[in-house]
Symmetry: C2
C-alpha cells in the first residue's frame, strides 16, 4: 500500500508545484514580452514607465519564488523517492531559482532591474555619440551590483563563478580558463597560417554592396521558411541588437537588423537567431508553462545558433541551396557565383567588432571579455581603466586597436543589461557546435551535403532528439554526456577550423 500512497502524494505535490509555478511563469511571459517590445516597438518616451514596470514585476516574481509555503513544497518534493527524470529536473531547476531568489535581497533585485533598464537606453546613446563618459557611471553601478550579487550568491573559488553559474549551470571560472588555454593558442596559430597562406580572403567586394531593405526582408523570410521556421508559432522583427526571446513554446520571436549593405550580416544573423529559436520551439510540448522550458544553459543555446549560423550557414552546400533565393530578390547577386558568395561568407580578418567577427577570430573577442570581466568583478580593474585595457588586449590578441569607444568598450549591449559572466557561453557554444557537427555527421552523413539537399528536417529532428526536447530536464554536462558520451572539448573546434580554413580556397 505504501507505494500507492507514495505515488499519489508524489503526483499531488508535483501538481501543486506546477499550479503555483504558473503564476511565476506568467510574470516571466509578461517580462519577456516587455523586453521584446522595449527593443522593437516601444515609443522612445515609454522607457521610464517601462523600467518601473519591469522592476516591480521582477520583485513580484522573486517574492512568489521565495514564498515560504512554495519553498517548503519544493523541499518536500526534493526528498521524495522514485522521482522520474522530469520531476527531478523540475525540482533541480526550481531549487536553483529559489536559491538565487532567496540569496538576493528584493532591494538588490529592484535596483538591478531599474538600473539596467535605464542603462540600456543610455548605452545606446553613448555608443551613438562615442561617449564613454555617458555610460561610465552606469557601468560602475552595474559592476558594483554584480560584485554584490556574487557575494550574495556565494562561490567556492572565484566571485566570477557565482555569475557564470547563472548562465552555465555547473561551469566554473577555472574550467573556462582550461578550455580557453587550449583555444587561444590553437586559434592564434590557425589565424596566423590563414593570413600567411591566404587560404581565405580577408575582405570581399560584397561587403560594400548595398541592398534594398524590403528585398532583404523577403530573403530572410524565405530562408527561414526553407530551414523550417514555423511562422504560426514564431516571428521575425527588427532591433538594433538581434536576439531571440520566447513567450512560451508556442510563441518564439527572433529579431535581425538591416544595415543596408553587407547582406551576410543580416542573413547569417537571422540564421543564428533561428538556431536559438529552434531550441525553444522543439522543447517537449508537455513542458509548456513549466520550469522545464527554461533553457538548460546559454552555452548549449549558443551551440544551436552557431550550429545553424556557422556549420550550416557558412557551408558551400547552404550557399548553393539559397543561391536562387538571393538571385531572385537581390539584383546584384547575378554578378557573383555561389563560390564568390561562399568566400564572402567566410572571409577571415582580425576586426574590431565581435558581432562582425569570422569563425576563426570570434573566440579571441570572447577571451578578451572574459579576462576583463574577471578583473572587474575582483575589483582589479575600475570602469575608468576599461577602455585602455580593452585596447591593449585587442592589440595582444588580434593585433589591432579601436580608435573609438563605440568600436571598443562600448560595442556590446551586455554590460548595460547587467549581464556579466554571460560572454564565455558564446565560446562554449561555438566549440560545442563543432562537437555536435562531428557527432551528427556520424549519424546523418556530411552536413555540407545535407544543406545542399535541403534535408534540414533531418537536422532539426536530430537536434530535437539529442538536445531540444529535453528542455532543462538535465543539467548541461549531463545532457551532453547522455547524448554524446562526453562533455565539452575544444579540440573538436580546433580540428574543425583546421579542416575548413587551412585548405586553400582561393
Amino acid at each position: 500500500m505504501g507505494g500507492v500512497v507514495g505515488l499519489f502524494s508524489r503526483k499531488k505535490i508535483i501538481k501543486e508545484i506546477l499550479d503555483y509555478y504558473r503564476k511565476i511563469w506568467a510574470i516571466g511571459h509578461a517580462l519577456n514580452l516587455l523586453h521584446w517590445d522595449t527593443e522593437t516597438y516601444m515609443p522612445e518616451k515609454g522607457v521610464v514607465e517601462r523600467s518601473s514596470a519591469v522592476a516591480e514585476l521582477s520583485v513580484l516574481a522573486q517574492k512568489l519564488i521565495t514564498d515560504e509555503k512554495f519553498v517548503k513544497l519544493v523541499e518536500k518534493a526534493a526528498e521524495l523517492k522514485d522521482l522520474n527524470d522530469y520531476e527531478k529536473g523540475l525540482i533541480r531547476v526550481l531549487e536553483r531559482t529559489i536559491r538565487v531568489a532567496k540569496k538576493l535581497p528584493p532591494r538588490h533585485v529592484h535596483e538591478f532591474a531599474k538600473v539596467t533598464q535605464e542603462a540600456v537606453v543610455v548605452w545606446r546613446n553613448a555608443k551613438k555619440a562615442n561617449n564613454y563618459d555617458l555610460f561610465k557611471p552606469y557601468l560602475k553601478k552595474i559592476i558594483e551590483l554584480n560584485r554584490e550579487k556574487a557575494e550574495y550568491l556565494g562561490y567556492k573559488e572565484h566571485p566570477y563563478d557565482a555569475l557564470l553559474d547563472l548562465y552555465e549551470e555547473g561551469m566554473t571560472t577555472r574550467e573556462v580558463e582550461e578550455v580557453f588555454r587550449v583555444l587561444e593558442p590553437g586559434v592564434k596559430k590557425i589565424l596566423e597560417r590563414v593570413l600567411e597562406e591566404k587560404t581565405y580572403p580577408q575582405t570581399h567586394p560584397l561587403e560594400e554592396v548595398e541592398y534594398n531593405i524590403r528585398a532583404m526582408k523577403r530573403v530572410n523570410e524565405r530562408v527561414l521558411r526553407i530551414l523550417g521556421y514555423p511562422f504560426n508559432r514564431a516571428r521575425l522583427d527588427e532591433s538594433a541588437h538581434p536576439f531571440t526571446i520566447h513567450m512560451g513554446i508556442f510563441d518564439v520571436r527572433i529579431t535581425t537588423r538591416y544595415e543596408g549593405k553587407d547582406f551576410k550580416r543580416s542573413l547569417l544573423g537571422t540564421v543564428h537567431e533561428f538556431g536559438h529559436a529552434l531550441y525553444q520551439l522543439q522543447i517537449d510540448k508537455r513542458f509548456s508553462m513549466t520550469p522545464l522550458t527554461e533553457i538548460t544553459s546559454l552555452g548549449l543555446h549558443e551551440s544551436q545558433s552557431r550550429f545553424w549560423e556557422n556549420i550550416i550557414g557558412r557551408s558551400m552546400g547552404f550557399v548553393e541551396t539559397i543561391y536562387p533565393i538571393l538571385a531572385k530578390s537581390l539584383r546584384f547577386i547575378k554578378n557573383y557565383s555561389p563560390n564568390d558568395i561562399y568566400l564572402y561568407f567566410n572571409t577571415v580578418k582580425p576586426s574590431l567588432i565581435r558581432t562582425e567577427a569570422d569563425e576563426v577570430t570570434y573566440n579571441l573577442h570572447i577571451i578578451l571579455r572574459f579576462k576583463l570581466e574577471k578583473l572587474m568583478i575582483t575589483g582589479e580593474v575600475k570602469a575608468d581603466e576599461l577602455p585602455e585595457l580593452w585596447n591593449q588586449e585587442m592589440e595582444r590578441l588580434l593585433g589591432i586597436k579601436p580608435k573609438t569607444y563605440s568600436e571598443g568598450v562600448l560595442q556590446d549591449i551586455h554590460w548595460s543589461m547587467g549581464s556579466i559572466g554571460y560572454f564565455p557561453t558564446y565560446s562554449l557554444g561555438t566549440i560545442l557546435a563543432a562537437q555536435i557537427k562531428y557527432h551528427a555527421e556520424k549519424q546523418l552523413g556530411n552536413i555540407d551535403e545535407i544543406a545542399r539537399e535541403r534535408r534540414f528536417k533531418q537536422v532539426r529532428e536530430y537536434l530535437r532528439e539529442k538536445i531540444h526536447r529535453w528542455g532543462s530536464v538535465y543539467p548541461p554536462k549531463e545532457l551532453l554526456q547522455r547524448s554524446f558520451g562526453e562533455t565539452i572539448n575544444p579540440e573538436y573546434f580546433i580540428k574543425y577550423l583546421e579542416e575548413k580554413y587551412l585548405q586553400k580556397q582561393f
Copy 2:
C-alpha cells in the same frame, strides 16, 4: 500641533498607498501590452499560453488589490480629513476597484479571463466562417459569467446596473433608458427626413475606390502629425478591430485597419482612435503610475474619440485641411473636389454594420445592443434566440435585415471579450461630443473654421484643461458639472444633427 501631525501622517499614508499601488499598476501595464500584442503581432499558436498568462496575471492583480493590509490602508485614508481633490479621487478610484475585486471570487476572475481570451479567437473564426454555432457556446458561457458578475457585484434596480457602472461610474440602466427615450425618436425623425429630402447622399462612388495600403498608411501618419499625435510617446499599428491602449502616460498606442478600399474607414477610424489616445496622453503627468491615470469613464472617453472623428473629422474645414495630403498620396483624389470628399465622409444610409454607420444612424445600432444586453442579463433571451431577435430589431430600428451572422449578431468583438454593459457608453460619448462642441465653440469660435485653419493645438488645450488633465480625479458626472455646468443632455446631439443634416447639401 495636531494639524502638523495630521498632515504628516496623511502624506505618509498616501505615499504608502501609491508605492504599493505601483505593483498593481505594473501588472496592468503588462496586461495592456499583452492585449495589444495579442491583437497586433502575436503568432497565431501563441493564444493558449497567452490566455493562461492573462488569467494568472489578472488573479494576481486582484489578490494585490484585495490584500488586507492594503484595503485597511485605503480605508484609513478614506477617513482622513483635509484630503485634497487629487487624494479624494485616488481613494475613490481605489475603493471602486477594491469593491469590485473583493466581490468577485478569484475563481470567477480566472475563468472570465481564460474564457474571454479564447472566445476572442473563436469569435474571429466564427465571424470569418459566418458560423454562429461556433461562437454560441462561448457566448452562453460569457452571458452566464456576466450574470454571475452582476450578482456578485450587486445592484439596486437592475442587474445590468452592476455591469454598466463598471464602464460608466454612477450611471444606471434607468438613466440610459431616459437618454435613449429622447434619442430614438429624435434620430428616427431626422433619419426619415434626410432620406426623404435627400439632403445628403446615401452612397458615394469613393466607397468602391481601391487604395494602395502603403500610401494610405502614409496618409494616416501625416494626418496624425497635423492633429498633434506625438510619435515619441505613441504608436499607430494595424489590427482587425481598431482600438486604443495605454501602457502609461508616455506610451499610448492606437491601431487602425486597411481594407484596401473606401479609405474614409481607415482614415476616420484613425482619427477616432487619436481622440481616445489624446485623452490618455494629456492626463497630468504627475499621475503617471497612479490610479488617477485610469480613465474616469468610457462615455467620456468616447466623447473624445467622437469629437475628433465626427465633429472635426467630418467637417468641411477638416476636409479642406487634409485635402492636399490626400491628393499627394492617393492618386484617385484628383478626380474629386473637397466638396465630394465632404459628402463621401457624410453619407447617411441605414446599414447593417455598426462600425460603418454614419452619424445619424449610429446610435440606433447601440439602442439595439442595449436592449439585447438587458434581456441577456435578465435571462429573458437565450443565446439561441439572439440572432433572430437581432434581426427583428434591425428591421424595427433601421428597416433592414442582415442576411448573414457575420453582418448580424457576430459583427462586434465586444461580447467575445466579455464586455456586456459597454455599448451604451458609445452613445453617451457621441452625445457628449456634440455637447462639448457647443461649449468649446463659445470659447474658441466655430470648430469648422478651427479645422480649416489647423488650429488643433487650441482644441487640444481646451480638451486638456476641461477633461484630459483630470484623469479620474472626479467621477464623470462631477467633471461634466465642473467643466460645463451640466451633465449629459441628448438635446445637444439632436440639435447638432438637425443643423448639419437637414440642410440640403447636394
